[in-house]
């Protein structure tokens, strides 16, 4: 049931990402909605489906991208791992954990995407990548991080209700 909701959610998110968000760049960088939702979900307490949702999001992103298949799956798995790690370490300040996970996750996704392009024989200057894609994308992701965290916290409360003690 929860994974079915994940399928629907990430299906909608990938459509939004490819039709709207990709058309609103800051310089050449864009926000990564799928990454933000995956990271925000991984940071929620009681959530047990973080890895499954990460895989679903990665598969959807790979379908909508010409990057070598699996690049997004690997990058999102690493971002989820970092988010789960941060959740244990910074559990008292969830918003801080969200910002940190977004920051690290965005850098991982961008660097591995760049590496995937380099492997396929396309040379991209590092300075251009940093100035035009990484930093603007990072800024957009950090702006959206907190609202998305709030949405996912509500969703986690709905899907994993707190058990009342008798």
């Amino acid at each position: 049931m929860i994974n079915l909701i994940g399928l629907i959610l990430f299906g909608i998110l990938s459509i939004l990402q490819s039709t709207i968000v990709s058309r609103i760049p800051l310089l050449n960088g864009t926000a990564d909605l799928i990454l933000l939702f995956i990271v925000a979900w991984a940071l929620q307490d009681r959530v047990e489906s973080a890895w499954q949702w990460c895989l679903i999001g990665g598969i959807f992103a790979s379908l909508y991208s010409a990057l070598p298949f699996g690049t997004f799956i690997v990058t999102y798995l690493i971002a989820t791992g970092i988010a789960r790690l941060l959740k244990r370490r910074v559990w008292k300040a969830p918003f801080l954990a969200m910002l940190a996970a977004t920051f690290i996750g965005t850098i991982i996704v961008q660097v591995l995407s760049l590496a995937a392009r380099l492997v396929t024989g396309v040379n991209i200057p590092l300075i251009s990548m940093l100035n035009l894609i990484l930093l603007p994308g990072l800024l957009l992701n950090l702006i959206l991080a907190i609202p998305i965290y709030s949405i996912m916290r509500d969703m986690a409360g709905w899907l994993y209700p707190e058990e009342l003690e008798a």
Partner: protein
Amino acid sequence: MQFIILFLIAMGIVGLALGGYLTPIARVVINPIVSAQSWLAKRYQAVQSLITQPEDVTSLRQKNAQLEAENSAMQVQIIELQQQVSEAQLLSTLVDYERRHVENQYIAASVIARDVSPFMHYVIIDRGSDDGLRKGMPVITQQGLVGKIAAVTAGAARVELINDPGSSINVILQQSGVEAVLNGDITGEIGLDMISQNAVVQPGDLVMTSGLGGNYPANLVIGQVVTVRSEAYSLFQSASVQPAVDFSQLAIVLIITNFQPVDISPLIPAPGTP
């Protein structure tokens, strides 16, 4: 007797009035009456409207809400019609292009998505192998070359734009006949490389596909040279190109279906072979 006197006075007044002798007097008398009457009428209307206002306000508000709803519905209709007009204009220019270039066969497709990665300059169109599209087919608009099909599914296809960093096209400058290679960039711009140092390239030169390499048909417009960079210690000149197509506004594209790309990679000698 009294009656006769009154009758004569009345007749005299009538006579004077008919003769127009009473007009100045009438004006003096009537003007204050008209003023008083209009003053009284205005006050009466004010009082009347004060009494009947609540009813009017309610009905006016209802009417206003109704008109506002009608207005917004009509505005939506206008926007829809404007979209239809712009789409019809776009299609009409594409049809014109088809008529002018009868040597090719075309299929029109809508751009439905962009690549989710900012590192990739690709778009997704709503036609696929079911419509006869194959990998490598060139994609154009009425302005010029857009790119080529990189991957196909049954109902959709992925198009590599010419401004993708992985795109490389053999081109020719129309005015000078100079050959060069057009490369995409991560910034979304396009530029010419491998221009011989002896070649004379001017800003404004038209850049077209040369057909060499077999990836694109010849003579498809790409853009115009903007600036030329020539350095003494460099083997080749380079130039930046203003693309004819606005890649951020792609909506409808044409795919040339009768062009078969040629794979010449087996003919290229591998490094180290004699």
